[in-house]
């Protein structure tokens, strides 16, 4: 990203844009916390030091479940209201060391549990493209901030599609890296074996640049991988000749909105025109992803959220004795969706049910991962699918929890298998953005970006029409 303006000007512009688009609670509600003076001071310091980092002076926002030193980290929850982390996440440190300036923390579904951003304790985020509709979730605030032009780079987090799905709904680029590609240190855990920090970009290039900065082994995360990080932006110039792109039939079911299918096929045509080969493939266990996901993720969440007990930090509500304090704190602190998932997760792990649910789900998860290995082992370099089965929906449209869960149907597979994915705008239906998803093999982000750049180049303004 080339910046011709000073850091202070860029940050001031970002802060101005927040006001213009009414980013706060009275408007889009995508921004939860910001400290203008602090951000401007940081920007001025960068200007004064003439820092040469790859992101020098670039403003960014981060989802509210990523630990930052100067702004609260509440995970969109009452239980962490007012909590300011005494340490910062590795991804925040890396972006700041590259010269980027954190201007705000963004709204999200509470503890990243949701696909619509309706589950934030601080109210829903409105989709900047159509304010009566959801921005997607759980990283809806970050997606909306990029879509609204407040920043070009935003951090989100993925557990089952929480970056790609809101990116699709808001018409921006969203990346979920390979599991282990980006440090989770400082990302408040939802489901540890699925969580990854992801990035939103106004363009593929913005996202690639941010990924270059945040990726790589971190000694503070035992699950972070010691795999070299390529220059993702170098993928921009690579031709597609020789690339085989799979079109998995399970992601194009007969029930899929034909207009979405058509946009995806138009995208595939554009890739073919640039030299890629498109092949029909199958990932037979795809339809099991949601049942598996909604066992594994709540199970891990029920354990990860046990630390919110009112003892050391966060909300404490007095009750009858210690037990009463625990129960009052957690019942008052967690919203209904989080409560539901904790109960579900506790249930599937509890004595007598573990084998039938959790153990079984992890076994089926292995089959889902094998689907990807098989297809990528057979000469297919990447897969192309719709990111979501529908465009952004109206607030309150998905009252039934499971119906809401089905929104992750095309995205949760990548989290279960640990493979990287990116959502890029491929067009609009009824004026609402539609995302196309590119999935690649473990640590093959380069291929993913290569196709994403090509697609963006080919579709150009079409992608936003």
């Amino acid at each position: 990203m080339t910046t011709t303006t000073s850091a202070a000007e860029a940050v001031a512009a970002s802060l101005r844009r927040m006001d213009e688009v009414k980013a706060g609670a009275d408007g889009l509600n995508c921004i939860l916390w910001s400290d203008r003076e602090h951000a401007l001071a940081e920007a001025r310091a960068i200007d004064e030091s003439r820092a040469q980092g790859p992101l020098a002076g670039v403003p960014f926002v981060a989802k509210d479940n990523i630990a930052t030193l100067h702004l609260p980290t509440t995970c969109g929850s009452r239980i962490l209201e007012g909590y300011v982390s005494p340490y910062q996440a590795t991804v925040i440190r890396r972006l700041r060391e590259a010269g980027a300036v954190l201007v705000a923390k963004t709204n999200c579904d509470e503890f990243a549990m949701g696909s619509s951003n309706e589950h934030s304790a601080y109210g829903p985020v409105r989709n900047p493209i159509c304010p009566t509709r959801v921005p997607g979730g759980s990283s809806g605030g970050s997606a909306a901030a990029v879509a609204a032009g407040i920043v070009r780079i935003a951090l989100g987090s993925e557990t089952g599609g929480s970056v790609r799905q809101p990116a699709a709904f808001c018409g921006v680029v969203g990346v979920k890296p390979t599991y282990g590609r980006v440090s989770r240190y400082g990302l408040v855990a939802f489901a540890s074996s699925l969580d990854q920090v992801g990035v939103f970009g106004a363009t593929v290039d913005d996202a690639a640049l941010a990924m270059e900065v945040i990726a790589g082994r971190d000694p503070l995360d035992s699950t972070s991988a010691d795999v070299p990080v390529p220059r993702y932006r170098a993928a921009a110039d690579r031709p597609l000749e020789g690339l085989v792109i799979g079109r998995p039939k399970e992601y194009f079911p007969p029930s899929l909105d034909p207009r979405i299918a058509a946009l995806c096929d138009r995208a595939l045509d554009a890739l073919r025109a640039q030299g890629a080969t498109v092949r029909d493939v199958s990932l037979p266990h795809t339809d099991l992803a949601i049942p598996v996901y909604y066992i594994v993720a709540p199970a891990e969440a029920s354990s990860n959220l046990a630390r919110f007990d009112g003892v050391r930090y966060g909300l404490r509500v007095t009750g009858d004795g210690l037990r009463g304090m625990y129960e009052a704190t957690r019942s008052r602190g967690f919203g209904p969706e989080v409560t539901r998932r904790i109960l579900l997760g506790t249930y599937v792990l509890s004595a007598g049910y573990y084998d039938a649910y959790y153990k079984k789900a992890q076994e089926v998860r292995t089959l889902i991962a094998q689907d990807f290995r098989t297809v990528f082992g057979n000469g297919v370099h990447a897969l192309f699918t719709p990111t979501t089965p529908t465009p952004a929906f109206e607030f309150g449209a998905k009252a039934d929890p499971y119906e809401m869960y089905l929104n992750d149907i095309f995205t949760a597979t990548a989290n279960l298998a640990g493979v990287p994915g990116i959502s890029v705008p491929v067009g609009r239906v009824d004026g609402l953005p539609i995302g196309g998803q590119i999935l690649a093999g473990h640590f093959e982000e380069m291929t993913m970006f290569q196709i994403a750049y090509a697609l963006e180049r080919a579709l150009g303004a079409e992608a936003h029409r």
């Binding site: 030193l69 300011v84 982390s85 005494p86 340490y87 910062q88 599991y179 282990g180 074996s193 000694p219 035992s222 699950t223 991988a225 339809d287 099991l288 049942p291 598996v292 909604y294 066992i295 029920s302 046990a306 007990d309 009112g310 003892v311 050391r312 930090y313 966060g314 404490r316 007095t318 009750g319 004795g321 210690l322 037990r323 304090m325 625990y326 129960e327 957690r330 409560t339 539901r340 904790i342 109960l343 506790t346 249930y347 509890s350 039938a356 649910y357 153990k359 079984k360 789900a361 992890q362 076994e363 089926v364 998860r365 292995t366 089959l367 991962a369 929890p401 499971y402 869960y405 640990g418």
Partner: protein
């Protein structure tokens, strides 16, 4: 395997969540609704399939037995609900005089 009222009360207790009486039937219905969709997993043949435990076959990295500890940018008092003389304070356990029935390790 239907979730019963008792199940919900039991897991809520395990999870230290106080559920108002009137929310229980709704949660019983929701959990049953969600879990009904999981039944499809039972029909999947997973003979000989090992469950995914973490991604990949990497070993957990080992760190050297040295400091320094990760510093706190602000004191514990800045985020703790209640502290005294450096201790976190919680309401006293009802069972404290009999040592304690819940294990600590």
């Amino acid at each position: 395997m239907a979730v019963t009222r008792e199940d919900v009360v039991h897991i809520a207790a395990l999870a230290r969540l106080a559920l108002p009486e009137e929310r229980v039937p709704e949660l019983v219905a929701q959990l049953n609704g969600i879990l009904a969709h999981m039944d499809v997993l039972r029909k999947v043949d997973t003979t000989g399939v090992t469950g995914t435990a973490g991604i990949g076959d990497a070993s957990t990295p080992l760190r050297p037995d040295t400091g320094p500890q990760i510093p706190l940018a602000r004191p514990r008092e800045a985020f703790a609900p209640q502290m005294r003389d450096g201790f976190f304070l919680v309401p006293r356990l009802a069972t404290h005089e009999t040592a304690d029935e819940e294990e600590t390790a």
